[in-house]
Amino acid sequence: MSGGAKLNVRVAEVVPVNDLITRFRFVARDGEDLPAFSGGAHTVVEMDDNGTRRLNPYSLMSSPVDRSGYEISVRRDDVGRGGSLFLHRHVKPGMEMVISYPVNLFALDNRAKKHLMIAGGIGITPFLAQISQLSAFGGRFELHYSARSKPLGAYMDRLTSAHPGQVHCYFDDQGQQIDLGRLLSMQPIGTHLYVCGPKGMINWVFTTAEAMGWPKLALHHEEFTAPGTGKAFTVELAASGKTITVGTTQSLLEAMEAAGVDAPYLCRGGACGQCETTVYKCNNTILHRDHWLTPEEHAEGHKIMPCVSRFEGKTLVINR
């Protein structure tokens, strides 16, 4: 079965955190502990949205030491494809759901002398788990966390009171911004830098760090792309001998699954590489939206990541 091992869970709590963010707690249906995980891991939540199957990745934010349950925080996206809206509107305590085993694409480098974390908005979630892990097992960290406004700064109070002096908050509506150049210039040798937030923030932090001579191997980021919407398109699946149409709010991966094709996947956010598929014939343009293939591979057009990428044109034939 694609997507790896699954966990049968029950929704234990649904807690509104602020106007945009709601927290969900899952526990195992059989009452046992859930598997341990590492800070930075995510789970893929399976949803049956009125007949449409949605599988979205969310970072685990609860403590990796606590196996009694997993928590995720979901930011409502009113113009997205509907996964976050489904969670906000329809998921209630007691509901039975299926989630994937945790997968970590944003792990701490345990050799680091210090972990410097930069979070923007909902990008705080993986850091919550990493900070719990570092607090339990030892490890020096410092978090710089910016949000649009104080009310939208989820978990800021919890973090600043638990880790005074190690957590620094910034608010866009007060014109506050991380003094990145100064911050990066003050770090001890052996510091690893972790960024999770909007694409613009990740680019800003990486560009600044690289210009200051930070080693590439010390820079880590996580970014999941929602599959996004687009024009409907038709794809020929060479291995299974099917021709399918991908709807406007459907991903290519979802369309294959709906057609009964068991295509491989893990993160469903363009980050992990599991769903990489060979393109046999492409008459026009693949709209690459993943972070897995290199820019050169995007230009060549011999591969596509069906979880997020789309197609515009006449003929697309892929090996699936």
Binding site: S38, G40, P102, A107, N110, R111, Q133, F137
Partner: protein, 356 residues
């Protein structure tokens, strides 16, 4: 607290035998039947040959996640001897302690679940009570607190676990062998390889690089998920049932390759099979690699007619570079001659099970 073994219980199952000096190791008829014969066809070439490590045929070495067999107690006594002579056979870099706890939990939970007659694990929060009856161990300790164990978590559990293991840290899109124990290895060394990455420690393997096998294998392993372990076979040849065929001790065992005669070959020449399993570890995100060694004398293996025919054909037809890498080129002709008496030329069925 110490880790002195007090074996003796269950001696009707666990064999009292040696892997050195007088070499009293052998397989019982039941152990021969369940021997993990690694050739599923009459010829052999490298492949990644990974499959999900899920419970397999009852009675086989795949029945449980970790196979505990009749050689367990004697293997652990042999391991303790190797470690006493050379403590560098077990090493763990400082950042791998958490992965060591992951490995300890994996082994204890699996053994207590699958072999309740021999092992027990009780948890009260982080206070754990571990009983290993075959080795006479009864310890209480605090999970994640190294000070409560006589060794680091990795060495502690590895002294009670068959198989050589490495713990591989994932960084920079590759794997780093940052912890390991090897006392039953086919001529490789933890002390030499520790800190190397996946391509570095595989550099000596012939032919496979040209085939791009290691690039594909690494790509596969980086996506290994917790809860979905995988396995594959590897194999080589060893003269005498010596577990510790280490480069450190090559002067001691290398010359034994020159002691084979047509008369003693069936009892001295062993097919050495590695059942390799890989697990993603939950707390550390590291990968545990278990290389479990099974030794089978030629005279034991040919009691299964299918295996006798097939072993003859594989050894006869293998690429000489592979025979040289596996260290049996000098004895290959003698092995083929000995085995030819067990090959009547009849066709063999696909798959490795002896009776199918």
């Amino acid at each position: 607290m110490s880790l002195d073994f007090k074996p003796g219980a269950f001696s009707d199952f666990f064999r009292d035998e040696t892997f050195r000096d007088d070499f009293t190791y052998r397989n019982s008829p039941a152990a021969v039947r369940r021997f993990p014969f690694p050739f599923d066809r009459d010829d052999y070439m490298y492949s990644v040959n990974m499959e999900p490590h899920v419970p397999g045929r009852p009675g086989s070495v795949f029945e449980n996640l970790l196979d505990v067999d009749e050689h367990y107690v004697s293997e652990m006594i042999d391991r303790a001897k190797v470690l006493a002579e050379d403590p560098l056979r077990c090493q763990s870099l400082p950042h791998m302690t958490l992965a060591g706890w992951d490995a300890l939990e994996l082994v204890m939970e699996a053994k207590a679940r699958d072999y309740p007659q021999w092992f027990a694990l009780e948890k009260n929060g982080n206070r754990w009570h571990w009983i290993n009856r075959p080795l006479g161990i009864d310890h209480s300790f605090t999970f994640l607190d190294e000070a409560t164990l006589p060794y680091g978590p990795f060495e502690y559990i590895m002294r009670q676990t068959q198989g050589d293991w490495t713990l591989q840290d994932e960084r920079d899109n590759t794997l780093w062998m940052d912890a390991g124990i090897a006392t039953a290895q086919a001529d490789w060394s933890v002390d030499f390889d520790i800190g190397m990455n996946f391509h570095e420690w595989h550099a000596p393997v012939p032919l496979a690089h040209e085939k791009g096998i290691f690039d594909r294998a690494l790509k596969f392993l980086l996506k290994l998920q917790h809860g979905s372990p995988v396995r594959r076979f590897n194999w080589t040849m060893t003269v005498n049932p010596l577990l510790d065929t280490s480069p450190e001790n090559y002067p001691k065992w290398g010359p034994t390759k020159a002691t084979l005669t047509p008369e003693n070959l069936g009892g001295k020449q062993h097919l050495r099979v590695e059942l390799q399993t890989l697990y993603r570890l939950p707390r550390s995100n590291a990968i545990a690699f278990d290389i479990r060694c099974y030794l089978g004398k030629f005279e034991e293996l040919v009691t299964m007619p299918k295996w006798g025919r097939r072993l003859h054909r594989v050894v006869r037809d293998i690429h000489p570079d592979l025979a040289a890498y596996k260290g049996f080129l000098r004895n290959r002709d003698a092995m083929v001659e000995w085995l030819s008496h067990y090959d009547d030329g009849a066709p063999t069925s696909l798959g490795w099970w002896p009776e199918d």
